[in-house]
């Protein structure tokens, strides 16, 4: 398969870019932020996303979705990255759908259909400590009657405060660090014992901290197999990582484009600053990094869709690389914009803030480089 978008994917990109660029340019994000919007995203636009088939992009056609794959999800994420449009697409359309696809026939039919209709929002609750370490999950799921009792705390739950359904990783056996013993649960966020705090984040996107105190769930709420949730979780996290990497490609490309434009406009010392060779070389280097990253991310998404055994390594490469490239892009973007880049009035700072969050999200560049080394046995 060529490492390019095919015709359908290109059309999808154009349609996503058309809608997002038109309806949700970065000023849309700025408005939501300044208004301290309660939801943090536009429900109207999510409805449109659902009408355009984006909310159900990954939902099998049998459940009313488009039945598309990781590459297509990446296409949409890249466009979201360009305008930083706040949207439940990642939490619901990518992570939620991917998790629920591992569920029972009943779960799939109930939830996937609703997601495709834009009628259900989900959030994945994984992280507990300061860094993404899914195997270190310590949250307890103790057997209780026919079901389980959940105790523990989750942080960095993306879109947690607007979710209708939480997908929670907890330890039904074993100790933190072990592969076995993890189970995924579907939990009603209004259940007794749940306390949810919306976290105001540096990037003004949505996340929540959630504590679980003796939260009772039935056996039906188990997603996938008890104690064996790790394989499903891995695949959910990997598609999520690929999606976030694609967002970072869009973000990097957008920052870079704005910076190159600025280099061609701003004069100092009687010259356009883009005439200074030191800046030219740095811009050319950054361009190359972005193109190299774009290829690595597309490759990883294609391998996921192929179900290739090399997909996990490719995802580690993609997420690690996208993180360092986005970091470089926003740093160069702010520096080359000079003082103006430091102002809230300019948009460049938004990208820097979002890039930082995307770095941490589902494992930073260090985490994924370490994963690559582990996969390669050294």
């Amino acid at each position: 398969m060529p490492l390019l978008l095919n015709e359908e994917q290109t059309m999808l990109r154009d349609s996503a870019r058309g809608f997002i660029g038109d309806k949700a340019p970065i000023s849309h994000f700025r408005q939501l932020r300044d208004a301290k919007d309660a939801a943090g995203f536009s429900h109207d636009y999510w409805r449109t996303f659902s009408e355009m088939g984006f909310s159900g992009l990954l939902v099998p056609e049998a459940f009313g979705g488009s039945g598309l794959g990781a590459v297509e999800a990446g296409v949409v994420m890249e466009e979201i990255g360009r305008t930083l449009m706040p949207s439940p697409f990642l939490s619901t359309g990518v992570l939620g759908v991917s998790a629920l696809k591992g569920g029972s026939a009943a779960q799939k039919s109930e939830y996937l259909t609703k997601i495709a209709n834009g009628a259900l929002l989900t959030a994945l609750a994984i992280d507990e400590g300061a860094k993404h370490r899914p195997l270190q999950t310590a949250m307890k799921a103790a057997r209780s009657g026919n079901g389980f009792k959940l105790n523990g705390a989750k942080a960095f739950v993306i879109d947690g405060h607007t979710a209708d359904l939480l997908i929670v990783a907890a330890r039904s056996a074993g100790t933190p660090g072990e592969r076995d013993g993890l189970t995924l649960f579907l939990v009603d966020p209004k259940a007794k014992g749940i306390a949810l705090e919306r976290t105001a984040m540096v990037d003004s996107h949505n996340a929540a901290r959630i504590t679980f105190e003796n939260v009772e769930v039935t056996a039906d709420s188990v997603l996938g197999d008890v104690d064996q949730g790790n394989a499903l979780l891995d695949s959910v996290l990997n598609i999520g990582r690929g999606a976030v990497a694609a967002e970072m490609v869009g973000l990097s490309d957008e920052v870079f484009g704005r910076t190159v434009t600025y280099l061609k406009e701003r004069k100092q010392f009687g010259k356009l600053i883009g005439e200074f060779q030191a800046l030219q070389h740095r811009a050319a280097h950054l361009y190359t990094e972005i193109e190299v990253t774009r290829a690595a991310v597309l490759k990883a998404l294609q391998l996921i869709d192929d179900g290739a055994p090399t997909a996990p390594a490719a995802i580690a490469v993609a997420k690690a690389k996208a993180g360092t490239t986005a970091t470089l892009a926003v740093q160069e973007g702010v520096q080359m914009h000079g003082g103006m880049g430091m102002t809230d009035q300019f948009d460049i700072g938004f990208f820097m803030k979002r890039a930082r969050v995307c770095q941490e999200l589902l494992g930073d560049s260090n985490y994924h480089a370490d994963q690559l080394a582990r996969l390669k046995n050294y």
């Binding site: 992280d127 100092q268 800046l279 740093q331 000079g338 803030k353 941490e360």
Partner: protein, 394 residues
């Protein structure tokens, strides 16, 4: 005991007796800095006590002559005072651009009358100063500034706009670059002038930064009347004063990377991330990055110490402060990238009490200006290439 040893032991004893315990902790917020000025506010009683005691010794400006409210200390004594203050983590009693920037320029270029008028008020924290250099179209290319001062008898009438004026909205006076002659080359015809921010025609507008804070302003001058006697140095030769002052500013900013005495970054990271069985930070990749950073940071601290010693010995290259400004600010940015990575998810919070209102991410974003303000890294490297390396056409 030598005189210096005696001085050290006296100083230590005095500090021990006079520095309130509350003033012996690292500053944790903007409130902890005392800036002085007409509307000076103490954030606490110990802050007031500490300031007044130090002021009375002349130690807000220990190396200035006593006649201007300084401590009259020589270079070695000043270094000892700094060391002894650092040893007990004593805070600076007064922070001001009057001390760090204008003072050295006044001492070198000021008339007796100017020194008498301004220096004691700076030393005593009575007047808070701001700096009017950059303009919207004169950033790195500072000399292309366009704020003009038109002669009107014994006065100038000043009209124009400045930007990136730090705390202009709190300042009492400004030291400012204006164009007194537009006929020649851009570096000529600039004058360095001082005036009261309460003058008619001065207005300021804070600039909201990406950190969510507003330490800088846009500052507007609309026919502000300023006596010609307020020019510092020679009329039309203000660029010399500005350059002299920028060197001091750069030397100061370069110090931001120094933090030898603080808690090791790797331990700060371990607070969030934890340690493995051997006591090593439980993120081997990050640990490596931190260790490499701490090598560079420790080396920079040595270079800063050496720069002072070279200056004392009269062996310093005048442009070396540009190299240090470049290196120190780039390191400080790296430090805060590491702090963000170390804090991970927790360092992404922006408003909670738990995160001290996002102190860590706001500080991180603030550092991004380090390599822009006071001369960009690119300008600093150009100065080194030209003035130290003598590369052609630099």
């Amino acid at each position: 005991m030598s005189d210096l040893e005696q001085f050290r032991s006296d100083t230590r004893a005095w500090l021990e007796a006079n520095c309130p315990p509350e003033m012996r902790k690292p500053m944790s917020s903007d409130e902890d800095t005392f800036w002085g000025g007409r509307n000076a506010k103490y954030s606490s009683e110990p802050q007031r006590v500490w300031f007044e005691r130090m002021r009375d010794k002349g130690w807000t400006v220990p190396h200035w002559p006593k006649e201007y409210g300084g401590g009259g200390l020589d270079g070695e004594q000043t270094k000892i005072l700094r060391q002894e203050m650092a040893a007990i983590s004593a805070r600076l009693p007064l922070v001001s651009f009057g001390i760090s920037m204008l003072g050295p320029a006044l001492l070198k270029y000021g008339t007796d009358a100017q020194k008498q008028e301004h220096l004691p008020k700076i030393a005593a924290g009575l007047i808070r100063w701001c700096q009017g250099y950059s303009e919207p179209n004169a950033g790195s290319d500072l000399a292309s500034l366009q704020t003009r001062a038109e002669s009107d008898g014994d006065d100038y009438l000043i009209t124009g706009q400045k930007i990136w004026t730090s705390y202009a909205n709190y300042a009492d006076w400004i030291f400012c670059l204006v164009r007194t002659d537009a006929s020649g080359k851009k570096h000529d015809g600039i004058s360095f002038i001082l005036f009261d921010m309460a003058s008619k025609g001065v207005s300021t507008k804070p600039i909201l930064l990406i950190s969510g804070k507003s330490p800088f302003c846009e500052t507007f001058f609309d026919n502000v009347r300023v006596p010609k006697s307020h020019v510092l140095g020679t009329v039309d030769r203000g660029w010399d004063v500005a350059k002299y002052l920028l060197q001091h500013e750069r030397a100061m900013i370069s110090g931001m990377g120094e933090r030898g005495a603080g808690r090791p970054l790797g331990q700060i990271a371990a607070d969030s991330i934890g340690a493995d069985a051997q006591g090593r930070l439980d993120d081997a990749m990050l640990r490596g990055q931190i260790a490499s950073f701490e090598v560079d940071e420790a080396a920079l601290a040595c270079a800063a110490e050496r720069a002072v010693d070279l200056a004392k010995a009269g062996q310093a290259h005048p442009a070396f402060s540009s190299a240090m400004k470049y290196y120190g600010t780039e390191l400080n940015k790296r430090r805060h990238e590491i702090l963000m990575s170390s804090g991970g998810i927790d360092a992404l919070e922006w408003e909670s009490q738990r995160s001290h209102e996002g102190a860590r991410p706001r500080a991180w974003l603030r550092t991004k200006a380090n390599s822009i303000e006071g001369g960009t890294s690119e300008v600093m490297l150009g100065i080194v290439a030209k003035r130290i390396l003598d590369l052609p056409g630099a």
